[in-house]
């Protein structure tokens, strides 16, 4: 297990170095100067030059790259060009929205998908199965931003139960904050739940056809007992893979939903930073997301091992 962890750690570090280089260079290639963006088209050229100097934009390229990486290693993400506050501060504020939203959506998605998938698999071709399959087909097909707008129209504009968007901040209390995240979480969770339920169903059906399931039934277990004690655990591996992918997708890809609900999350921070050429922010957030995705993949690998003892032995 230790050798395995070490190998994973080395590949993780190499991926991060490669990613940092690509991110840095891509941002340099994109045309646009943050200083002239901030000063506008009526600005005095002298003042723009003074600002460039202040931002350190005139330093040579390799020096800026090394400066950035050295800062990252010490946990210093630099200072945002436009907001003029430490990037780490900006990111931590945004993570406090994006991460809870991701977990909320993932929890909803799992809580909907597991029962739906299990019922559908256990009662294959029944009315329950058909309705789960039909509903999930629809769930996969509906774009989540459209679904989000419909939710806003129903619950915010017509019923006035919740705000149409925005985030009051965790300081405002747990309940108002959770309330603000509910519609976005539902909008994010629906398509994910549909995918997950379908994966759960097909994976479980495959497992139910295995020989050991027949043995379990022959031992005298009922269908339900066999499914619950033997099939479910074995069917989990593909489901865990999907959950891991969904976590990364939701964390990094919530940008459209964040725009519909004008939530100040990570996705919107990146979007805004790109248009304003706040390169420091873009780089730092992207590298952080890369890091998060790599870590989640790693955790999912560990979860496989927990779900399937054979994998543990193999790797030892």
């Amino acid at each position: 297990m230790t050798a395995y962890l070490l190998r994973r750690f080395v590949s993780l570090s190499l991926s991060l170095v490669a990613a940092s280089l690509v991110i840095f260079l891509v941002m340099e290639v994109v045309p646009g100067d943050p200083a002239s963006f901030m000063m506008g088209i009526n600005a005095d050229p002298e003042a723009v030059a003074a600002l460039r100097l202040q931002m350190g934009l005139d330093e040579p390229l390799p020096l800026r790259y090394l400066g950035w990486v050295a800062g990252l290693l010490q946990g210093d993400f630099g200072v945002s060009y436009t907001y003029r506050v430490p990037v780490s501060e900006l990111i931590s504020e945004r993570v406090m929205i994006s991460l809870p939203l991701t977990l909320y959506a993932l929890a909803l998605s799992t809580l909907i998908a597991f029962p739906a998938g299990i019922i559908a698999a256990a009662r294959r071709n029944s009315a329950a199965d058909l309705s789960v399959m039909g509903a999930t087909q629809l769930g996969v097909a509906i774009p989540n931003f459209w679904f989000a707008m419909i939710l806003v129209l129903i619950f915010a504009v017509n019923l006035r139960w919740v705000s149409a968007g925005g985030f009051p901040g965790w300081d405002a209390g747990f309940v108002p904050a959770l309330k603000a995240l509910t519609l976005p979480a539902i909008a994010l969770a629906l398509p994910q739940a549909s995918i997950l339920a379908r994966v759960m169903r097909s994976s479980l059906i495959d497992t139910l056809d295995e020989d050991f399931m027949r043995t379990a039934r022959a031992k005298g277990l009922s269908r339900g007992q066999a499914l619950w004690r033997h099939a479910l655990r074995n069917a989990l591996i593909p489901v865990l893979t999907i959950i891991g992918l969904q976590f990364s997708f939701l964390l990094a890809g919530g940008i459209i939903i964040e725009n519909v609900f004008y939530l100040p999350g990570l996705g919107r921070l990146v979007f805004q930073a790109i248009t304003q050429r706040d390169l420091i922010v873009v780089r730092s957030v992207v590298i952080l997301l890369v890091f998060a995705v790599i870590v989640v993949t790693f955790l999912v690998d560990l979860a496989y091992a927990a779900a399937d003892p054979r994998l543990r032995r193999h790797r030892r």
Binding site: N42, V85, E93, L108, P115, A156, R160, V162, A164
Partner: protein, 496 residues
């Protein structure tokens, strides 16, 4: 976990999130939520050009010596009154007594001296540094009197001092204004939840008439659909520059809302690269202006809101001259001019920045140019790209853009400005204008300048960008027009 308990958990999470009733209605409201499209990058109007900065802090948090009124007139602010010397070189400002900064320190002549000197210093990052270029010295006469000496007479000096970039800041707090602005205005900075909102609270120690609102929240909602939903759901009380004109009729039909159509300082132009052949030929530029049907663009891109202009000047300005007839829609004349210039089979690049007036308007312009035989290659660009490629690199033939600073006809006198005009005669007019202090003479010169650029067909002048706002019908006192980039909340109140 059993099947039922999983299902029960799912249901209870959903219920927890959704089953809160609507917020109780307040009796007499003293707060207002104002929607804005862009979030300011920082809150220091003396260190950045973003319009969003002034839209939050101008007149609310920060004040200058003078200020703009709702109609664009120049009013006293921190300067109670002033005297101008005979030669127009010395301005003696009598300052407001009893004014205090939000941190409790008193406002006096030293603060004025500090602010003006800071803005004109060599390392200044003030985007409008040119406003202060004529200042030779700033002298403190006594704590309530400041004498500003100019190097040459400047008829627009009081106007310049009204800009957001010329507000008075305190030396102790100036460096932190970007994140925590400290001014002298009727509202003090409350909180900034980045990406979401800025809260301002009433300043109890304000020197002037206290404001009626206790709290103002500026919320940043850039997506037009989200902005629509936020107004409809009652999350916002007003959206002074509403981004989607196509929704305005829906608001007009709803008794809860009032739609305000005002004008802005945004002269929207089809800018032409005056040095790039064949656009260096005045006949080609004139041909382009005659090919354009302004009303069709206003109807198509702005749903009918907008005033046609024939020169680079705001129609609500008293000195405005209507020159639209000189470049009236006349495709036949346009074709004749092109033939005379010997230009055929012309293809021009047309670069369009993101605002909808440019993207939608650009498509219509392209179609109109095709009618007279000019082909265009449209490229959609982001702002940062536009600044780099068009503005700095001058790598374009045509572009659509709105110049939103007040009284910015002076850009035509700049060397190396992106449309590359810089005509010596025009520069002469601008120099004379800078030296003139007599109002009649100034008006005459401003009109001469307007005519000069229209006669030279520097750019095709399209329309004055409207300011289309939506407010709760009971919220009163918002500015209908925007003589400068601002959301002045000082006169805003709720009607009973």
């Amino acid at each position: 976990m059993t099947r039922t308990s999983i299902a029960a958990a799912a249901v209870s999470i959903l219920a927890l999130g959704l089953a809160f009733g609507p917020a109780p209605a307040l009796a007499a409201r003293t707060d207002a939520s104002i929607g804005m499209q862009l979030e300011p990058p920082n809150l220091d109007p003396t260190g950045g050009a973003a319009a969003a900065i002034d839209e939050v802090v101008y007149a609310n948090v920060f004040e200058g010596l003078t200020r703009f009124g709702a109609d664009g007139s120049i009013l006293p602010a921190l300067a109670e009154s002033w005297e101008i010397s005979e030669d127009g070189l010395t301005y003696t400002f009598k300052l407001r007594s009893g004014a205090k900064f939000h941190d409790g320190s008193a406002f006096d002549a030293e603060d004025v001296k500090f602010s003006l000197n800071r803005a004109r210093a060599d390392d200044s990052t003030n985007a409008q540094k040119a406003l202060f270029a004529d200042i030779a010295s700033v002298e403190v006469v006594d704590p309530a009197t400041v004498k500003v000496t100019l190097s040459k007479p400047n008829g627009s000096f009081l106007f310049n001092m009204a800009w957001g970039d010329a507000v008075i800041v305190a030396p102790e707090t100036a460096a932190d204004n970007a994140a925590k602005p400290v001014g002298t205005g009727p509202f003090a900075f409350g909180e900034w939840v980045k990406g979401d909102r800025v809260d301002l609270v009433r300043n109890p120690d304000y020197w002037g008439e206290p404001v009626k609102l206790e709290k103002v929240t500026f919320k940043f909602i850039s997506d037009p659909t989200a902005a629509f939903a936020a107004m409809m759901a009652g999350d916002l009380d007003a959206y002074p520059a509403f981004p989607a004109p196509e929704n305005l009729t829906q608001f007009e039909a709803d008794p809860r809302f009032a739609v305000i159509i005002g004008s802005s300082e945004g002269e929207t132009i089809l800018a032409m690269n005056n040095k790039k052949p064949p656009l260096d030929d005045i006949r080609v530029r004139q041909a382009i202006t005659h090919a354009i049907d302004r009303q069709a663009i206003i109807d198509g891109a702005l749903f009918g809101y907008g005033t046609p202009i024939g020169t680079h000047f705001a129609p609500h300005n008293p000195a405005y001259v209507d020159l639209t007839a000189q470049s009236a829609y006349d495709p036949e004349k346009s074709k004749a001019l092109l033939a005379e210039a010997g230009v055929s089979d012309l293809t021009l690049s047309l670069k369009l920045p993101p605002p909808s007036y440019a993207r939608r308007g650009g498509e219509i312009i392209a179609a109109q140019l095709r009618e007279v035989g000019i082909n265009t290659e449209i490229t959609n660009v982001e702002w940062a790209q536009w600044l780099e490629d068009v503005f700095k690199g001058k790598n374009f033939d045509l572009t659509v853009i709105s110049h939103t600073e007040p009284m910015d006809i002076g850009i035509y006198a700049r060397d190396d400005y992106y449309f590359q005009y810089a005509d010596p005669d025009f520069k002469k007019i601008m120099d004379d204008l800078a030296n003139a202090t007599d109002p009649a003479k100034r008006t005459e010169l401003m009109q001469a300048a307007q005519k000069k650029i229209a006669d030279d067909y520097v750019n095709a002048y399209l329309f004055q960008l409207p300011r289309t706002g939506v407010t709760n019908v009971k919220l009163k006192g918002l500015w209908p027009n925007s003589p400068t980039q601002a959301n002045d909340m000082t006169g805003v109140y709720w009607e009973e």
